[in-house]
Symmetry: C2
Subunit: 328 residues, 2 copies
């Protein structure tokens, strides 16, 4: 900027004014400055600017997801990016892999990059890292799940009633022995979905059969195969997470049981409508979740001091075939 000022024969503050469009600069001077900027291929340094500016804004937000390559998380990511990008904010992202250790580590790291706010899909139940950041004045919005003891905005879906709906759907087709296969129980979403399943089973006086802690596709497949050896084997399965659903479908296929045993999944899966039978699911709208979280965060960054909000994004029920198989 000093160089540009010299090149244009003006003071550095005048260059600053032109670059930031502050006005109070003569048209002729401004033109000379713009020409110099062009000639020297000058580009403003956002971080140096934020250093001196009163609000310390860096026009960037941090995004901590479970795994950027999980289709659900990737859609959330895109939603955040769309909303943030429209407001001129850049997105710094990282994957936590549901590891509380990484959360403890990466939350302060994001802080040290001076992001203006943080969107987090929390990996653990421990609020201290995030609380510390919030105490330092950092706006935080949680997505997908909350953290007990942390008073801040969140964007979630109603996992419990979605799971209840899915289970009731199976019950309405005559099933009374429905297995629940879900993700790790320290995840609040997994617990809520289990709760919804339990509610529906109780109401129908159906037995419960719970297989938790399936953290990936492979474990889900193995567990499904093992479970179906038992007798009496369940006649239907509620698969409470996207990767679990894939594992279940894969196991049923390998046993040739995909047209005998009913399946309803939570979260849509790519090509779920093309396999045979097509997979009935409770679908979320992850792009919308990300977009709303980013909008909430941007409002907080902009100074919104209203009460803490919990935004619940609706789910939709996609009936496709696998969930409408009656018991044998």
């Amino acid at each position: 900027m000093k160089d540009v000022a010299r090149e244009a024969g003006v003071g550095i503050k005048t260059v600053s004014r032109v670059v930031n469009g502050e006005g109070y600069v003569g048209e002729a001077t401004a033109a000379r400055v713009r020409a110099a900027v062009e000639r020297l291929a000058y580009r403003r340094d956002v971080s140096a600017g934020s250093l001196r500016r009163a609000d310390r804004r860096t026009l960037s937000i941090g995004l901590l997801l479970g795994d950027v390559s999980n289709p659900f998380d990737a859609q959330v990511h895109r939603g955040v990016e769309d909303a943030a990008g429209a407001a001129g904010f850049a997105v710094l992202s990282a994957s936590l892999d549901e590891d509380p250790e990484r959360e403890r580590e990466l939350v302060p790291t994001m802080g040290s990059y001076q992001v203006d706010g943080l969107i987090v899909m929390p990996a653990g139940p421990d609020p201290t890292a995030l609380q510390r950041e919030m105490d330092a004045g950092m706006p935080v919005v949680l997505v997908d799940r909350g953290v007990e003891g942390l008073e801040t905005d969140s964007v979630v879906v109603d996992n419990q009633s979605g799971a209840r709906l899915a289970t009731e759907h199976l019950i309405s087709y005559g099933h009374r022995h429905i297995a629940f296969m879900g993700d790790r129980q320290f995840l609040p979403t997994a617990r809520m979905r289990l709760e919804g399943y339990r509610e529906a089973c109780w109401a129908a006086r159906a037995a419960t059969h719970i297989i938790p802690d399936l953290s990936n596709e492979y474990l889900a497949e193995t567990a499904t195969r093992a479970m179906l050896q038992a007798s009496p084997a369940p006649t239907a399965i509620f698969a409470a997470q996207n990767l679990v659903t894939i594992g279940v479908v894969r196991a049923l296929r390998s046993l040739g049981l995909e047209h005998e045993i009913a399946v309803v999944g939570f979260d849509d899966i790519s090509l779920g409508d093309l396999v045979s039978p097509a997979i009935t699911v409770i679908a979320q709208d992850p792009h919308l979740i990300g977009k709303m979280a980013a909008e909430r965060l941007l409002a907080r960054i902009g100074g919104d001091t209203g009460p803490v909000e919990q935004i619940i994004v609706p789910t939709s029920f996609l009936v496709r075939g696998s969930g409408e198989i009656p018991p044998a």
Copy 2:
């Protein structure tokens, strides 16, 4: 930092030395500083530090992808993140949507955030924005495709020979009328895949049937349906991109032709092994592509001034059924 210095009763430079582990600090002093850091919940400001430091490093890299929510791109993203994270670098990412306009805009934006290097899946054929960045000393690594006229490292797959292999595979099963359905032809990868298809057809003296510029699933589905009305209709399809493959499969399914017409896809698709018939594909390893790109970039950031490298990541051929259907 000034506050920490006052709290600990030392000079700010001493605090800096402790925080950065520079040594030459007495143990007692260091302990007092660490205690003060803890008490005041102090965190170093990375960007302010980089301002004065000679190398201007911000320990962050920029990543410009087609679309962070495309499964292929998301895997690349994760590969980059893994390699960058291990070296202590943060990743600033954005989606270009194959729009050269956005590329012109976001490349300098990344520059103004002072990233130490840039990994780009280029959206357009125009090298100027990237060239300008490189002239300013920014290391750049291209992924998935190159840019003509830009002398820089790149990590790609051999699209041409992959496509040739796929086509030859169909020919070996007796097909002589194979349709090529591909993405927009301004994308180098799309052109290379078409070239590979052409080579194989020529060698076998088979007719070509080319349907380009299918930029999404829906267009691919519609085009497939239209094409199959023609007579004589092709007996096999080479679907040259992941979303195109999905569209093709969807169209065949809706016409009930999925067991009549052979399909080989380029890029693996999720659940491609579960649909019936399972989809034969040329699979890439996007995680590896991202990882290698990041490693190359980190080497350049670290001062590697060796000659420009083009890294070619091998593809693999997954034979699953859809590509082994003989012509009627």
